[in-house]
């Protein structure tokens, strides 16, 4: 599947997982999501159904090609956590509200709970595990640790990914702009004060001013 086709699929507003679940694994929507579709000049869509049984896919994950088998109904989040043991992205609301499952898809933050694993084929996926290690943290991770921008830490990977995305794109971001970049994430322990400082410190380091 090409990236363009993917965009077309997403443009039809079919990425919401709840809707997919509602229609059922064998339904037309799941078929579209497997990506075996073509769109002709007049906009007519021809479909080749796949699923509901498992299908082999290869994901471009943290710079590596990872092969796995998933049913088309499996979300990217569940594929990461349950099939690949990449458990940094967390399952909290499971419906695109809290941001704990945030990963980068082609450099853009995305809720991995609201995207099917088969939709992720051909995209460049970066999870929290791809951003740094405890020994070699990225600027955002270092700033989170230093400013105690985490307590229980369960929401932290999602915040770190979202903050990394916004600051990488715009290291000159004002605090307000940086906050907007993680406005789609929620924390229950109440770590926003440390996070504000972490955002500013990380931006400074990314600009080379640290």
């Amino acid at each position: 599947m090409t990236a363009d086709e993917n965009t077309n699929m997403q443009g039809k507003g079919l990425s919401r997982r709840g809707f997919l679940k509602g229609v059922g694994a064998g339904g037309a929507v799941a078929t579209i999501a497997t990506g075996c579709s073509t769109i002709d000049r007049d906009g007519a869509v021809s479909l080749t159904p796949r699923g509901p049984e498992e299908t082999s896919i290869t994901l471009n994950l943290n710079g590596r090609r990872r092969k796995l088998k998933v049913e088309p109904r499996v979300t990217l989040l569940d594929a990461l956590r349950n099939r690949l043991d990449l458990t940094g992205a967390k399952k909290v609301c499971d419906r695109g509200t809290c941001g704990a499952c945030t990963v980068l898809v082609d450099g853009e933050p995305a809720y991995s709970c609201s995207m099917l694993a088969v939709e992720a084929v051909g995209r460049k996926i970066t999870t929290i595990e791809g951003l740094g290690t405890p020994e070699k943290m990225n600027a955002v991770q270092k700033a989170f640790v230093e400013n105690d921008a985490q307590q229980c830490g369960f929401c932290t990977p999602g915040f770190v990914v979202a903050c990394t995305a916004v600051l990488t794109k715009n290291p000159d971001a004002t605090l307000e702009e940086a906050q907007a970049g993680c406005g789609g994430n929620l924390c229950r322990c109440g770590t926003y004060v440390g996070m504000n400082q972490a955002l500013m410190d990380a931006a400074k380091e990314l600009k080379g001013g640290a």
Binding site: G132, C152, F154, V160, C187
Partner: protein
């Protein structure tokens, strides 16, 4: 000889400093493995089937279709419940274990159950639904208090049920192997999570191994193994495979605990100068299907004549659990709303009103000091206005004050400290780190005691194999684990000093451990390195277990109970839209001797933010017709985001006066006052009270109408 007393300020190298939590990097990089992240080989997923009725008699459960689904490996049915009543939507009646999460979800959905539907009742704010007898508590004679008064002021206020909404849901991974249970629960009670599970699952207590290194929030709701702990264990036993059973978000919000509501009619007697003479509060609310109890009225300010009447409303909702500072936030909101309404009616400035009545509090000097600091921090003198002098224009500013109190005496705890011949040190303790920094606290205490750097301590927590330590509730952990660690480390050190004494030719009681050396007190020339001293341990390691005996430790000044705390909120309210914006909030908090300033402040900020969230957004909404929780998700059960909380400033009380009290926990206190302070600020801004939380636009516009 080293003694257990906390070192003087000049001798502290770590205690009280701002120290970065040790598990920060593993959390920030997604490497920390929470219970939800455990994927042992052969794992099965379990999903519960639940009651769709708020109240019904369960007639039968049929799992045949679910069992026939390919990939389903185990089924559990609550056979004890057949013929009995289910009492709320979401009550677990059966559970399936399957090869994947998707299959388990699908299978749980096709478990068939028959019910005889009964009438339900979920309304909690109308006293006419109250059941049982009212409980009464009177101190002095409230009638005398009202007789003494120049004015009597009355008001109605309310706080809805809110939920814990832990980011990591309740549940666990359980594996029964060779007759032993290996369990990874998300718990705030590692040492005793498995207590009383033995009968339910038929495995001896001694054969239960609990491991919780990281957990994603508890806030009072994760002490027990719960029904899902039993089910997960039984399914693992049945299938011979590890089983992961963590609640989906809707169940997490609707059945895994909540904070009881509180609605009240308050009558307050005052002198014209603002002196409080009597206080009577009638309160009702729900804790679900069980009992109901809030602490007695009023809060913090206790006139000698006061009375509380309390009535519970049994509802077909999920049951209450301890929620950070149980019953304090509700009683604080209800009391301080009435107090500032009274001050406003008398035309007295709120701060002046509180100062006038400070003799009615348990700690007048502490509150006075904290109130002055808070007023200075928020710029009270410049910003404060009476409720009668509102800003012109549609957006109006206001200030509000609230105060709180809490106990926080360290819980029972044991810790084992081992000094090895190679100089390494291990501290083992069956505590847990909910994000409070407990792991780091243990390291700080051991390192401080042994005169070593923080990194020299290998701290092990989160297993019931380690010496038992209490559950993390009621702000008791830091006190408990600090004392047990201090006792163990001091004992171990004294044995080492005894050995070093012979070598150095100095009596052991003249030796101390400082900066990685064992040295004569006041004479650095007579010393040896820590490593050299440990090398003399030819007979093996020194291993000592220390305990926190609460009474003795309190007497010795190691721990204490009872804190104050003052918070002031500065809000703006758009009276055309009803939108409340928190501009700034200050929190002044005492908690005795602070161990790690950084994580301590984080706790206070976190408590304040959680309190702000409850003030502005939170309410478990129930539909009376169906008995269903309408917002058991995170779109409509809102919690604050990074842009919702305004500018926050925390000030911790330090200095001899506070530190000599020893350690007092701080998890609960800061979460208590925010809602009351914000509600008061809104009333100050718009001139009328918004009587019921949360302070959402509809409630604000209702109050203005």
């Amino acid at each position: 000889m080293a003694t257990a007393a906390w070192p003087e300020k000049k001798d502290r190298s770590l205690i009280g400093k701002s120290i970065t939590r040790q598990d920060g990097p593993v959390k920030a990089t997604g490497r920390a493995k929470y219970s939800f992240d455990m994927n042992p080989k052969g794992l099965l997923w379990a999903k519960p089937a639940t009651s769709p009725h708020a109240h019904a008699k369960l007639v039968s459960i049929d799992t045949a279709k679910a069992e026939a689904l390919p990939g389903v490996k185990g089924v559990w049915k609550d056979t004890d419940l057949i013929g009995e009543e289910v009492r709320y939507i979401g009550q677990i009646i059966a559970c399936v274990a399957a090869e994947s999460e998707e299959i388990a979800t699908e299978a749980a959905a096709i478990v068939e159950a028959k019910y005889e539907v009964l009438e339900h009742q979920v309304i909690d704010n109308d006293i006419k639904f109250a059941t049982g007898r009212a409980s009464e508590q009177e101190v002095g004679k409230v009638a005398d208090g009202f007789k003494e008064a120049d004015v009597i002021i009355e008001g109605d206020y309310g706080v809805p049920v809110i939920t814990h909404c832990c980011m990591e849901p309740h549940g666990q991974v359980t594996e029964v192997r060779g007759g032993e249970l290996y369990s990874w629960p998300s718990t705030q009670n590692v040492s005793r999570w498995a207590d009383r599970l033995d009968d339910a699952v038929g495995i001896e207590r001694a054969k239960m191994h609990v491991d919780c290194q990281y957990m994603g929030g508890g806030f009072g709701s994760k002490f027990s193994f719960d029904k899902w702990g039993i089910i997960g264990t039984l399914l693992s036993k049945q299938t011979g495979r590890p089983v992961k059973l963590l609640l989906d978000r809707d169940l997490e919000l609707s059945i895994a605990g909540n904070r009881p509501s509180g609605y009240t009619h308050i009558k307050l007697g005052l002198k014209n100068d603002g002196t409080i003479t009597g206080f009577e509060g009638s309160v009702w609310g729900t804790g679900g299907g069980g009992g109901y109890r809030l602490r007695a009225f009023p809060y913090v300010f206790e006139p000698k004549n006061r009375k509380t009447t309390m009535k519970g409303i049994r509802t077909n909702r999920g049951g209450q659990r301890a929620w950070r500072a149980p019953s304090h936030p509700q009683t604080c909101l209800l009391t301080f709303s009435a107090l500032e309404d009274a001050a406003a009616k008398l035309g007295i400035d709120a701060a002046a009103f509180y100062k006038k009545n400070l003799n009615l509090t348990a700690r007048p000097d502490v509150y006075a000091e904290e109130l002055d600091i808070a007023m200075k921090m928020i710029g009270y003198a410049k910003k404060a206005h009476l409720r009668t002098k509102l800003d012109a224009g549609p957006v109006k500013r206001g200030l509000g004050i609230a105060m709180h109190t809490w106990g926080g005496l360290g819980h029972a705890s044991e810790c084992r400290v081992t000094i090895n011949p190679d100089g390494s040190v291990k501290a083992e303790i069956g505590t847990q780190d909910l994000g409070t920094g407990a792991r780091t606290v243990v390291s700080i205490i051991a390192a401080e005691t042994l005169g070593l750097p923080l990194e020299a301590i290998d701290t092990k927590i989160g297993k019931n194999a380690y010496p038992a330590s209490g559950g993390s509730g009621g702000s008791t952990t830091t006190g408990g684990i600090s004392v047990s660690t201090r006792m163990a480390a001091t004992d171990a050190l004294n044995e080492l000093l005894g050995i070093a004494a012979t070598k150095l030719g100095v009596a052991a009681d003249k030796l101390e451990a400082k900066g990685g050396r064992i040295r004569e007190i006041g004479n650095a020339a007579k010393s040896m390195s820590w490593t050299d001293a440990c090398k003399m341990l030819r007979t093996g390691s020194i291993s000592k277990t220390g305990a926190n005996n609460r009474t003795e430790a309190q007497k010795a000044g190691l721990i204490d109970a009872g804190v104050g705390g003052v918070q002031i909120a500065d809000v703006s309210v758009d009276v055309e839209t009803g939108v409340v914006t928190l501009i700034e909030m200050v929190a002044v908090q005492d908690c005795g001797l602070i161990i790690d300033m950084k994580t301590c402040e984080s706790q206070v900020y976190g408590g304040v933010i959680m309190g702000i969230t409850s003030a502005l957004f939170e309410e478990a909404l129930y539909d009376a017709a169906t008995g269903r929780m309408l917002n058991a998700d995170m779109e409509f059960y809102r919690i604050a985001g990074i842009k919702d909380v305004g500018k926050l400033k925390v000030h911790m009380m330090t200095g001899e006066k506070y530190e000599k009290r020893g350690i007092i926990g701080v998890g609960e206190p800061p979460v208590i006052a925010p809602a009351a302070a914000i509600s008061n600020a809104v009333a100050n801004a718009i001139g009328v009270r918004v009587p019921y939380l949360p302070l959402t636009p509809d409630h604000v516009l209702d109050a203005l109408a």
